[in-house]
């Protein structure tokens, strides 16, 4: 069917478009932007006046719980939610059960995504066997099987020598390395930001240094290994500064932020509200501001959902024992856009951080 979408406000950062303009579609492809080809006769005209039009969202960090925890969510349920919220591609970390460390697992996930038919799933392969930080996986094989990068999910590799070798090996085959950059020892058993809230509530705390130390190490390893790295989920202002310096030196390194870290702070935890228990933790107002400014500058180039669906009872526990993470696919766009409405971020910045920037990190050619 030939369709014309008229008078919509199109934001397409890859092509530098940010204006009210018509779009003409034929056989599910955009054929023209602006004036259509002379012979184009649309069978259907959609009036998009007052609407925004932008490319499909690419969420760089979403957990689907399948395989392994289907009582919480499934590929079908999560891709359906994603598609209804404007997300067309999902990148999922390898910490499923079993872990994504074999080609068979990659194929199975992609087959199930295709069967569901709502959006594309791009798995990350495990960086080390069992995510245990001791032995490298066959990451080139995982790349061939369809992984768009490798990652150790939420378990940073403590052994710096092993991490360096992992980066060197990955760089051989241009495999992007996704990092949770924090120091495991400083992270400890912490559940909230170390500050006034952790002190008042008496909760084990995660100091800012857990992240800044981790990022400093990983930047140094990127610099000497030649790997291209993506640091998943920054939470403090000082990390953003470290990353800005690295980018000024033209290092092949990028970073993302979870949308809730842009919108919330430690004080939202209030009276032990376990819904706000996330890793990395919600930090201070100043950190929140630093993350927003870092996103506007481009030091943080990706906003993601860090979607972690849970069953109700896993949040009905004392704070330090409740499940970590919050569901976010459905709300990723609206929450990110609220920053545009509040004039904290430019519309182009938000759309680029949701679409073209993550697409380039995982090498999706169509953006």
């Amino acid at each position: 069917m030939d369709i014309s979408i008229q008078d919509g406000h199109m934001i397409d950062p890859a092509n530098g478009i940010n204006q009210v303009i018509d779009i003409h579609v034929s056989q599910n492809r955009i054929r023209a932007i602006g004036e259509p080809h002379q012979e184009f006769k649309p069978e259907r005209v959609i009036n998009a006046k007052g609407c925004y039009i932008f490319p499909g969202i690419v969420d760089l960090c979403a957990r689907l719980r399948e395989p392994g925890e289907e009582h919480k969510a499934t590929i079908l349920s999560e891709t359906r939610a994603a598609a209804s919220a404007g997300i067309t591609s999902l990148v999922c970390p390898p910490d499923t059960l079993p872990i994504i460390e074999t080609p068979g697992m990659v194929h199975m996930i992609q087959d199930r995504a295709n069967a569901a038919g709502f959006c594309d799933i791009y798995p990350l392969g495990a960086l080390t066997v069992g995510l245990e930080g001791e032995k490298l996986t066959d990451m080139a094989t995982l790349l061939d099987a369809g992984c768009v990068g490798v990652s150790n999910a939420l378990k940073p590799v403590e052994n710096s020598l092993l991490m360096r070798r992992a980066m060197q090996y990955a760089s051989t085959y241009d495999i992007p390395v996704f990092l949770a950059s924090w120091d495991s020892w400083l992270q400890g058993n912490g559940v909230v930001h170390e500050g006034t809230i952790s002190t008042q509530l008496g909760l084990p705390a995660i100091p800012e240094a857990a992240e800044t130390v981790g990022i400093a190490r990983d930047i140094a390893l990127v610099e000497t290994s030649g790997a291209s790295a993506h640091i998943n989920l920054l939470s403090c202002e000082r990390s953003v500064f470290r990353l800005g310096e690295a980018r000024q030196r033209q290092l092949p390194i990028s970073a993302s932020v979870a949308v809730h870290n842009l919108l919330c702070t430690e004080s939202d935890i209030g009276e032990f509200n376990t819904l706000f228990k996330v890793i990395p933790p919600l930090r201070t107002k100043q950190d929140q501001q630093g993350l927003i400014e870092g996103t506007e500058r481009g030091d943080i180039s990706v906003i993601c959902s860090d979607h972690q669906p849970h069953s109700l009872d896993s949040k009905l526990a004392p704070f330090s024992e409740a499940a970590t993470g919050i569901a976010g696919l459905d709300t990723l766009l609206t929450l990110a856009w609220s920053l545009v409405n509040n004039r904290q971020l430019k519309a182009e910045t938000v759309i680029a951080a949701l679409t073209v920037n993550p697409a380039r990190i995982v090498g999706l050619g169509s953006y």
Partner: protein, 327 residues
Amino acid sequence: MSKRTDFPVQFDQNGKLRHFLTIQGLSEEILTGILDIAHSFIDFGKREIKKIPLMRGKTMVNLFFEPSTRTRTTFEIAAKRLSADVVNMNATRMSTSKGESILDTVKTLEAMHTDMFVVRDRASGSAQLIASHLPGHVRVINAGDGRHEHPTQAMLDVFTIRQHKQDFSRLRIAIVGDILHSRVARSQIHALNILGAREIRVIGPRTLIPTDIEAMGVGYANNMKDGLEDVDVVIMLRIQRERMDGQLIPSEQEYFARYGLTEETLKFARPDAMVMHPGPINRGLEISSSVADGSRSVILDQITNGIAVRMSIMAHLMGGQEKSKWT
């Protein structure tokens, strides 16, 4: 996002105190009311029949997920003096979401028509969690949740201070030791600030002092000489021996030499300064025996007062708020 800094779970919609979970968020009026009523319970232990019928026919469950004979016993005596039926539960629970959760245990007991729970648990926030998942008529008292608060202990401490020193606005109080892991210290700091104490100081090595403690309205000193200067009340906290394993302090000897309360270090405080300790005491680790048993120590008063103060707190929670028909 809404910012919530108050702790509303412990109040009902009319603003009446329903649970006793945290000192944070309570008014001076509520604290003073509890202390005043506790005062009239003090002589009760001397009567021939040590019972009054305020909780007659009510069932109180002492639900201790973390063992503590002392605290449990004072709650038990307090409830029995109010004529309640008391059930003691030393419960165990899993730390993960597998198995019976803390809420499952509580709801099972609630189904047996419990009127009041006294809860102790190793996790911060457990009391709030339980209180917010029980029907409106059931009361919860926090007997210590993780490192968060131990509000009844703080109330008996300020009661003991008030017995000896009248006016809080003239008092300087020092809290010495492991503030980081101490729920008692957090509740004490809130209570003393609400009652208008002139100055509160915490003393200890930086490893045992939480970040941004100043935001709770206290000052910090790294040594006893500066910290105890002009102080009217010295509160010593228990040092858990496992803190040495975590390398928060290098050794017992070094700790006692810097922060132990002895006849000599007590001289830094005012000559009439009183010495408190929530117990149990590690003699020779945080306090010398001669000070603990000396004339300035009110450690045994604290224990005695614990019963009257807990009776008062229970009475405050159990009472209704209709208008009285008879005079």
